[in-house]
């Protein structure tokens, strides 16, 4: 028998809540995320959104109701910022004026001046700006659920902290359910309402950031130690 990539993973995400899936590379974080929007199909078990089994929903329809943010490669290089952000509304057949208005609102929301940025192409943006566009694109059709796969992973440390702070402010205002995958424990502690720790394809811990700090699972301890270099390193 082939051993499953992930197993024993069970959690719920409420509106306004951000569940951070934390884990090392290869621990099954991204796999878990892709099971939610059916980029991967589970061999066993169910994913439910608003009580409905995702397996019963047509994948393209399902995905248009789930925002998806990936590392910067996810923007379409031949689309302008406006075309990237307006993609899902366009697929959904919105009128052009409504898409244009929505794009401007969203760019404002993520801190990009619409007049400056609508006509630019991804290669003309900095890493941080690209990531803001990625978040705006995921929010375009106002999905109730957002999936974020290490969205700030490729950024320089200063830009990363800046975007993390802003994202934190956005979380509260948007009131959406979010699943946020990262291997950065500080990011997880900052942005998560709850933290789910994955290890070897299993969810080995699920709880608030405070509970995570006190958890005695060796992997959780290892992550906390990585976040806090300790008195010796502090000098």
């Amino acid at each position: 028998m082939v051993s499953p990539l992930v197993q024993d993973v069970s959690f719920t995400v409420g509106a306004g809540e951000t569940v951070v899936i934390l884990g090392r590379s290869g621990s099954g974080k991204t796999t878990t995320l892709k099971l939610i929007n059916r980029l991967l199909e589970p061999t066993a078990g169910d994913v439910l959104i608003a009580g409905e089994r995702t397996a019963a929903v047509e994948p393209t329809r399902l995905r248009r109701r789930i925002g998806y943010v990936i590392q910067e490669v996810g923007l379409f290089p031949h689309f302008t910022v406006a075309e990237n952000v307006g993609l899902v509304p366009r697929l959904e057949g919105w009128l052009a004026e409504r898409i244009a208005a929505r794009v401007r609102d969203l760019l404002g929301l993520v801190g990009l001046d619409p007049d400056t940025f609508v006509a630019r192409y991804p290669h003309q943006l900095s890493g941080g700006q690209r990531q803001r566009v990625g978040v705006a694109r995921a929010l375009a059709a106002d999905p109730p659920l957002l999936l974020l796969d290490e969205p700030f992973g490729a950024l320089d440390p200063i830009t990363r902290v800046e975007l993390q702070r802003e994202f934190r402010g956005l979380e509260g205002r948007l009131g959406k359910g979010m699943v946020f995958v990262t291997h950065d424990v500080r990011e997880g502690l900052l942005l998560g309402t709850r933290i789910g720790l994955m290890h070897g394809g299993r969810l080995v811990f699920l709880g608030t950031p405070e509970e995570f700090g006190k958890a005695d699972h060796p992997e959780a301890v290892a992550f906390m130690r990585a976040a806090d270099p300790g008195p010796a390193a502090r000098g």
Binding site: N37, L39, P59, T60, R61, L62, R63, R64, Y68, I70, Q71, V73, G74, L75, F76, P77, H78, L87, V88, L91, Y121, H123, R137
Partner: protein, 208 residues
């Protein structure tokens, strides 16, 4: 007899042959594009067919052009349409191969982003894969066009007309001027097609 005075005395005939040649090339490359691009697209969706389809196209490509005309004559007879068929067969490989390579070369992360946004396969192809592969596909059409201009000269051997008429006549009567009268415009035509399509190709290439 100099080339210029030859052209001056046979202007109507020369223009007619150039037109015939252009028509042969445009028709066959156009048909090969209409067949080849969808075929290349299909191969990206049916990778199992890739080996046999590209292999078959490769085999056709290795048959010498004169021999291919020879093979087709018992089936299609001589004349214009036999030449067109042979030219289409020649033009197919670069077009199919480049369409396949261009689409297969699209960054998998970009493709997955498209699927993750909820694009159907058709939307992914139309909005993402084809635009990103456009310059590679056009490069294939460009190669096919240039090859066709050359191969089309042999069409004269089976009565399809074109600039090959002068070349074959020149060879038969050992007249260099006559050979050049056909070869020079054909060479210029190939260069012009290469240049024009190359320009278009660069315009279609997107910037990272």
């Amino acid at each position: 007899m100099s080339l210029l005075s030859f052209y001056a005395r046979n202007t109507t005939e020369v223009l007619g042959l150039i037109w015939q040649h252009l028509y042969l090339v445009a028709l066959s490359t156009g048909a090969a594009t209409i067949i080849g691009v969808p075929l290349g697209m299909l191969l990206t969706r049916r990778p199992a067919w890739r080996g046999s389809v590209l292999g078959l196209a490769n085999i056709f490509q290795t048959v010498p052009s004169l021999a291919l005309f020879g093979i087709l004559i018992p089936i299609l007879g001589i004349g214009f349409w036999t030449a067109v068929t042979a030219l289409v067969v020649y033009a197919l490989l670069p077009i199919v191969r480049n369409t396949y390579t261009g689409i297969a070369g699209v960054d998998p992360a970009v493709r997955e982003a498209g699927r993750g946004m909820g694009m159907t396969d058709g939307e992914l192809l139309r909005l993402v894969e084809l635009p990103l592969a456009a310059s590679v596909i056009l490069a294939g059409i460009r190669v096919a066009t240039v090859v066709s201009v050359g191969v089309a000269t042999i069409g004269a051997a089976i009565g399809a007309g074109g600039l090959g008429v002068y070349i074959f006549r020149g060879v038969a009567v050992v007249d260099d001027t006559l050979i050049l009268a056909g070869a020079i415009p054909a060479a210029l035509m190939a260069l012009a097609a290469d240049g024009a399509l190359g320009l278009l190709e660069r315009r279609l290439a997107w910037h990272r």
